[in-house]
Symmetry: C2
Subunit: 151 residues, 2 copies
């Protein structure tokens, strides 16, 4: 188990530090935004950098439209056989503009899912970072009680 569940609750809230520990070793996540009231989601490669998330996009794509948005989420999760985690970062996304910002981001070794010649970097500055760790197996059985189904 990556995290203990001392109270035997199958769900454990992660601290902000624990969320960043997970984000720092995760290369893949999803960007969620709302455009004209409709949600949209894109898989992206992410890099955690100075308690923010950086990713690449290209002008004119749908991703770029969602990516410059005051209210976005970045989600990342991981699933193992007997445990899983999910981290959600709420924040504001902005294109990196200055050459200093951009050359810093270039050091992060990020690849876009959709490559293109005119790539840009986007940084999501969080207003809130939350996460949960899920313990499957014995906790689940205990919680569900006798009536539960296997699987």
């Amino acid at each position: 188990m990556m995290f203990d569940h001392p109270d035997n609750n199958p769900v454990r809230k992660l601290t902000e530090d624990e969320c960043w520990q997970l984000l720092e070793r995760t290369q893949h996540g999803r960007l969620v935004g709302v455009v004209a009231g409709y949600p949209d989601i894109f898989p992206i490669n992410i890099a955690a950098d100075q308690r923010s998330i950086v990713f690449r996009t290209a002008p004119g794509t749908k991703l770029a439209e969602v990516a410059v948005n005051e209210n976005v989420l970045i989600e990342a999760d991981g699933i193992l056989s007997d445990e899983a985690w999910s981290v959600v970062l709420r924040g504001t996304a902005a294109l990196l503009q200055t050459s200093g910002e951009i050359s810093e981001a270039e050091r992060l070794d990020l690849q876009p899912w959709v490559p293109g010649p005119k790539e840009q970097f986007v940084r999501v500055t969080p207003t809130e970072v939350t996460g949960r760790h899920f313990a499957f197996g014995p906790y689940r059985d205990a919680e569900l009680g006798e009536g539960s189904e296997g699987g």
Copy 2:
């Protein structure tokens, strides 16, 4: 490669049938919804059933609040070393109400991420299913040209 890219474009749109083929062998996805203008996202276990997606939730949870919503997304993706895919289903989510619907859903062998005693099933009926397949490696290098960075 799961899918060919005959035109050497690193991104290939998937047909609806191809999207369902992927969803049918995927147990894990994410529910995205909008509540009061703000997006939210939850990891969920999913089952594809009769060209819709079924998952479990429990009353009173945030997931349940988002889950009964006329405008939700279900996203699933997979990443391998040299390829990746992402499928997004837009649709309407509704709680299963009748005992017939519920006993049918119970056969799907679904587990919730957050177990609880009063579980419910939600079915998302799609209005649109889209997906993309990403070929990394040679396609990516060709597309990015000489100026691209490795990684």
